[in-house]
């Protein structure tokens, strides 16, 4: 653990900071080192492609592709839980009924006023 060194393209992650790591288990530290090594490798691959003077095409970042795909296709992975059902009800179902109630009562009140002859039209507008 004490001989973890920073690589040229990978800075020291916080969990491997020597001021912090004496209260972490060695398994955790090993896992963090492995992850830091993978990240450094990915960054090296990207930098190799980025700085290649003979490159003519775009670099494909697989992480970005996966992220964009995940953002655009949530439906096959939808799972009805309490949270999602609540969100769906609050934003999808309840507003429709609330709006129906509001509009219907407002319009019925206006209709009664028109039938009784008390509906005031202060502006002369076509509608």
């Amino acid at each position: 653990m004490a001989d973890y060194r920073e690589a040229p393209l990978a800075s020291r992650p916080k969990s491997l900071d020597p001021n912090e790591y004496f209260n972490l288990s060695s398994d955790f530290r090993r896992a963090e080192e492995d992850r830091a090594a993978i990240r450094a490798n990915l960054k090296r691959q990207y930098q190799l492609q980025l700085n290649n003077p003979l490159r003519k095409e775009l670099i494909e970042d697989p992480a970005l592709t996966q992220w964009v795909y995940a953002r655009t296709n949530p439906y096959p992975h939808f799972r009805p839980t309490y949270k999602t059902s609540l969100l769906g009800a609050v934003f999808g179902v309840v507003p429709l009924f609330v709006m129906y109630y509001i509009f219907k009562t407002d319009r019925d009140r206006k209709e009664e006023q028109i039938k009784a002859g008390t509906f005031k039209r202060p502006f002369s507008l076509s509608s």
Partner: protein, 460 residues
């Protein structure tokens, strides 16, 4: 009418017989001439509103702006597709243009139809070329899914319309719009009344699209090639609006009670889809959801059946057609250079392509309904009409307008400002073809500021 239809029909032999070097300029010039002739439709010559009348087709102030828009869009589509089809074999280029022209023909006949049967047949006919465009020339694998959604949503919702039209023909003996507008309320038994009303409008509500049944639209718009996106956003959605406006004539007394669920869905859809726009990663998807949002306003305005509502709906349809098509063209210029639609990867274009940034600015400002453009005029009239219907709608339309402004500016800032991504090593400069394309989109919009009566429709 024939002086537009026959040249459009003959554009098909033109695209097959033109020499390879002259294919695109020839078809472009031909379609521009057709557009020039179609401007004559904008002059309304009679008081009964039906001009250029012949036994099957006519134009009136409701359909003539939409017809001119359709004819205007064909040269723009040809102009926009020129680049990405350049590497396709020649036969495929000819097939593409033939598809565009077939679509154009079916749309012209749909908007100009006086018989509702012809309108329905042309409504369905316009689905086939669009489907072929999406599934064959789309860029991602998801285009098959998109084509399926598009076809089956619109087809399944329009089959009940066929039955309704046939039943109507059976009951009243006619389906001609000229006669329907003079008939009184149709006597139908009480519960069948409701089914009748819903099935008549369902096809158009799905096409518009209404919020609950809008799922086909983001898929179809995103996966379609540029010409497909343009025609979808600019004209095919308006086919739904136009159909609704025509059919509401025969459905009127019942509309007062039955319109509530659909107006509510439309207004809530304005809010929901605008909010979805704010969280999109894909540029074309953002523009697609913004189309749903604007069309929600149009749907609500048509359903309340007041003169101002119909006027505002028509103005917003035309203005949105031009704006949305321009946005898709801009997104396509971006896509052709960076081959990605993700907004994060295509930032900072103002530094690289400053002139294109001008067009981005004007189009995004048009999208957020900047005065004095007709987008604002349409939205304002719709909001006022909805206010007259019930004061509480201002909550939804006002919040919708606010969020529309937010996501339009967000789109502008994300694509134009910000750091340029450092993996883009070469971007082609803007072609003058692209500048021409955007000028031709925005110039009609600016001209309409000075004479909005052309797109006011027959309610005024």
């Amino acid at each position: 009418m024939l002086k537009i239809l026959i040249p459009t029909l003959l554009l098909i032999p033109t695209s097959w017989l033109a020499k390879a070097k002259w294919l695109w300029p020839t078809t472009l010039l031909h379609s521009f001439i057709i557009t020039l002739f179609s401007l004559a439709w904008l002059k309304n010559t009679t008081e009964t509103n039906w001009s250029t009348l012949n036994p099957y087709m006519a134009t009136d102030p409701l359909s003539s702006p939409l017809l001119t828009l359709t004819c205007c869009l064909l040269p723009l589509m040809i102009l926009a597709s020129q680049n990405h089809l350049a590497q396709d074999p020649l036969v495929r280029q000819r097939i593409y243009i033939t598809l565009l022209v077939t679509l154009q023909l079916s749309l012209i006949m749909a908007f100009a139809a006086t018989e509702l049967t012809m309108f329905y047949v042309m409504f369905e006919t316009s689905l086939i070329p669009t489907l072929i465009l999406i599934t064959r020339w789309g860029n991602q694998m998801e285009r098959l899914n998109a084509g399926t959604y598009f076809l089956f949503y619109t087809l399944a919702s329009s089959l009940p319309l066929l039955i309704t039209l046939l039943a109507f023909q059976n009951k009243t003996g006619t389906l001609s719009l000229l006669i329907i507008q003079l008939l009184g309320p149709i006597p139908i038994s009480p519960y069948v009344n409701i089914i009748w009303w819903t099935t008549s409008l369902l096809a158009f509500l799905v096409k518009m699209p209404l919020y609950g049944v809008h799922l086909w639209l983001p898929k179809a718009h995103v996966e379609a090639p540029i010409a497909g996106s343009m025609i979808l956003a600019a004209v095919l959605l308006k086919l739904g609006g136009y159909g609704m406006m025509r059919l509401m004539l025969i459905l009127s007394p019942l509309a007062k009670e039955l319109c509530y669920p659909f107006i509510i869905l439309a207004l809530w859809g304005v809010l929901m889809t605008s909010s979805i726009c704010l969280g999109q990663t894909d540029l074309k998807s953002l523009i697609a959801y913004s189309s749903v949002s604007h069309m929600g306003l149009v749907a609500a305005a048509i359903l309340i059946q007041t003169p101002w509502g119909l006027t505002g709906a028509l103005i917003l349809m035309i203005a949105h057609g031009l704006t949305s098509s321009a946005l898709f063209c801009l997104a396509n210029t971006n896509y052709e250079r960076t081959h990605t639609r993700t907004m994060i990867l295509t930032r900072g274009s103002q530094m690289i392509l400053p002139l294109m940034a001008t067009w981005w600015l004007i189009t995004c400002l048009a999208n957020l309904a900047l005065p004095p453009l007709p987008n604002l005029m349409g939205e304002l009239i719709i909001i006022s009409a909805l206010l007259g219907w019930s004061w509480w709608t201002i909550i939804f339309t006002g919040a919708g307008a606010l969020i529309t402004a937010t996501y339009s500016l967000y789109m502008y800032l994300m694509t134009q400002r910000g750091p340029v991504p450092n993996h883009m090593i070469s971007m082609n400069p803007s072609h003058s073809r692209e500048h021409l394309l955007l000028t031709l989109h925005l110039l009609p919009l600016l001209l309409l500021v000075f004479k909005p009566t052309t797109i006011w429709g027959s309610a005024y």
